[in-house]
Symmetry: C2
Subunit: 583 residues, 2 copies
Amino acid sequence: MKRYFPILDWLAVYNRPTAAADLMAAVIVTIMLIPQSLAYALLAGLPAEVGLYASIAPLLLYAVFGTSRTLAVGPVAVVSLMTAAAVGQIASQGTAEYLGAAIAMAVLSGLMLLAMGLLRLGFIANFLSHPVISGFISASAVLIAVGQIPGILGISAPGHTLIEVVIGIAKGIGGLNPFTFALGGFALAFLWWSRSSLKALLQRRGVRPGVAAVIVRAAPVAAVALTTLAAWGLGLAERGVAVVGDIPSGLPMPALPSLDPALWQAILLPAALISLVGYVETVSVAQTLAAKRRQRIDPDQELIALGASNIGAGLSGGFPVTGGFARSVVNFDAGAQTPAAGAYTAVAMALATLFLTPLLYHLPKATLAATIIVAVLGLVDSSAVKRVWASNRADFAAMAVTIVLTLTVGVEAGIAAGVALSVLLHLYRTSRPHVAVIGQVQGTEHFRNVLRHNVTTVPEVLALRIDEALYFPNARFLEDTLLGAVAENKAIRHVVLNCVAVNDIDSSAVESLEATNARLKDAGVTLHLAEVKGPVMDRLQRTHFLHDLTGTVYLTMYDAMLGLAPQAAQDCRALPRCETAKG
Amino acid sequence: MKRYFPILDWLAVYNRPTAAADLMAAVIVTIMLIPQSLAYALLAGLPAEVGLYASIAPLLLYAVFGTSRTLAVGPVAVVSLMTAAAVGQIASQGTAEYLGAAIAMAVLSGLMLLAMGLLRLGFIANFLSHPVISGFISASAVLIAVGQIPGILGISAPGHTLIEVVIGIAKGIGGLNPFTFALGGFALAFLWWSRSSLKALLQRRGVRPGVAAVIVRAAPVAAVALTTLAAWGLGLAERGVAVVGDIPSGLPMPALPSLDPALWQAILLPAALISLVGYVETVSVAQTLAAKRRQRIDPDQELIALGASNIGAGLSGGFPVTGGFARSVVNFDAGAQTPAAGAYTAVAMALATLFLTPLLYHLPKATLAATIIVAVLGLVDSSAVKRVWASNRADFAAMAVTIVLTLTVGVEAGIAAGVALSVLLHLYRTSRPHVAVIGQVQGTEHFRNVLRHNVTTVPEVLALRIDEALYFPNARFLEDTLLGAVAENKAIRHVVLNCVAVNDIDSSAVESLEATNARLKDAGVTLHLAEVKGPVMDRLQRTHFLHDLTGTVYLTMYDAMLGLAPQAAQDCRALPRCETAKG
């Protein structure tokens, strides 16, 4: 029971101090969430109230099923962008079909996450490598930020790629609305200043750090209030400033999503990508925060929790949600102790939906655009690009392709290409494994690469270490390498394959080894194995290979040398230790 | 020059005895090739003469570019089936579009092979693992054989899957044509008998083995001659027996294929699959035969040769070709010494095209169907299925999926699913690597799995051997495993990761190791590495990890134990050798 309902872990010991801490955190998160939920709904191309709806049921459900004590679930920027990209291919913004598709997307990705969780398939998320996900999030953040510029300028520049949006801005800049630009520019400058300088300023004025932090968090609400008042007082809606307008007040009614099979088929792939990206973001945030307090999260249960949250979002008229980085950190810093903080946030959001919406009529959309820009720029991690470039070119290639395609073709193409390229590069690398000729380190029973260490070798024995699992992509490579090495050096009478790094062997490789053994035999060369690991030995024993093998399977390389060139091996062992690396 | 034109290797030393041997082989191969080329063209849904055209230019081009001395290129059953499946989705059999698509398929797959050869991308073919290709060829052979039964019965049963064809036969059996069935049944029985019993019978009657083999090879021609005579003499064409009919005599005129971009796009994927399957078949036949005479083939040059052959096939009105197993073995056994044998075969086929075609008017199609059935049943390898089942369940799964989908859905789905499943199973396996707790084998400096060997361990040192490259699919697994092991056992002060089997490390894994190092540090546990291989060390040196590492990087596991628990390590080394494996 407790495995599937982590709420039972903490509800029994829930007490007043914990509740007080959770309530405080919930107030701060709600202040942050109100403008963000409206803004991310607009980013997804949806009516503003959909953001509010997506901030109620999912939070309650996560509180029941989630294993992270501090994760804040709700609408987030990257997933909203992915929703807009996917749903935009099916229906036009503003239509009932568009909203229906976004709701179906939430339900379908929730069902996928739930199924993955129940089948314990969380490992699938591992295929989003760190460089790909980091590149994807940075590129998405740039795309989102640039996409909000038209909103600040009061112009329209539709498009899903960086180039389309930039061209749209260049074309539309003449139609700039000065009132929108004034409000949006003010909101942007104010938010930027409050984010970068306000906290330090307050602390210099003697405000306690905790209070200063709360004031900084309230800056977006202040921006919303100030610009809404200005728009109302000056009647700017009549002067072409886009405002949020009528938001239906009242809680969302539970409703089934559209069950049109054609729709579900069309959103299958995007829903899978949204699920994966959302899950990876959730787990990495949750693990980072859990580690700070020595708590543990259960990645498979997180799939269930996130799945339930998304199904809840869809059934209550919301769009896909996930665990957001910034909001979770705020929740953590504000002292949230249990997922009850999320439930309190949900209640506060429900109250806002019931009573606050009339006040939001005159809220300029430019203010929300400014909120989004300031929120997402923190996601751009250019240092990660440099770090990956320095350490691993294959990873950098996958990252670069993800970034470039996300910006120029679209979010789905970007993430899919990144994953595909990671896998292909891995397969390419393992298809040409590293093979080292090894020799004995003087004074030891240890064998290392002759190119890197000063080691002793014997002309009639070729000792090779294969640094890869032997499987179909490299089966032929091994055959070519071994036969080539023997053809080049006529002195060789024995080949010893050190299998310490051979982590698995499949049927293709066994067939290849059998062929190699037979051909070496014809050439008068004996094939031996050494340091074969248990799982590999188990597999070999289920084939004829060990029966046909011309040589012996030795426990250690040293045993092999004792068997094939005993004097040389013992002499080398008896020498003083010498292990200088070359070069 | 010689690299791209292997003909230069042998043409300079070409002499009379070699020419005599090649001519003899060419005669025998031609006898076999005439009925097969017609039959495989019909199998591909094409006019019979297309088979003849595909047996001229490709053979000449392979003689110039090929590195195998004995490979016989031309129409083969599996590739013909794949062509029919792919082209059948684009156009109806018998139309000019159908022929045009088949010709374009030959040119496109030729261009793909040529490009792969020039870019030295032969390794791509490795992704067709042995079990997948073996299952695919067996299933295709069954599909082809069953698909020829309607031809023997004189009924029509269209369909691309086993079920469709079987249902078609069941429905159409009432319309069986007794004359067709008599001829087809005779041809089938005769060919089967000559294949299984004729050679032994002749040898018992005192015929020399070489002559007996030639007579057996000529059996299909005899079946063609006998049934053609019967059909002509009895006027069976008027009684509903399908005959080959008019074949235009004269050589094919060179012509450019259709350059319609929509067509090329539609055949892109099937052409890639045909290229890969054809290439894998070619290389494995060529390597098998080359090894018997201690010759070598160059897999990348084979791509170029096969590419040129297919381009030649397409430009001379033919369909995709590849190196056939049965025909190459016949060529080899008949004593072919150089690819000139193939050129002589091409000349003989050209003569047949010029002068023999009027004689083929009354050739019953049922005879060709019988030829195909007998030829392909030799390709079904049911022992491979048992062998793979016994040795490797993951490989068996890939093989079974390939077989089932090839039979029930189609050849493209079968091969694509087999390749995809092979890759996915590999990724799944590496995402949950084998991790062994290791200890010192008494009397040695060697460390092995505590579960499999009687070894000595020290409570405060946890020594783990990770049997996998550390990369994105398993980055999180390592973190969970290490932290879990330390959490379970409070005595542990040091963790030594034996990296002897870690063949590579990517950015995701480095980040994971950095996180693990930091968390172990917080728990008061020091992390050490041992036996890190050169390429992995190079990568680590390009990151901050070695700088942050709390412990030491040791050259050997024994060094690590000497550093962390010197007394225990030396005591164990001094004990008498004891290496009994457990269980």
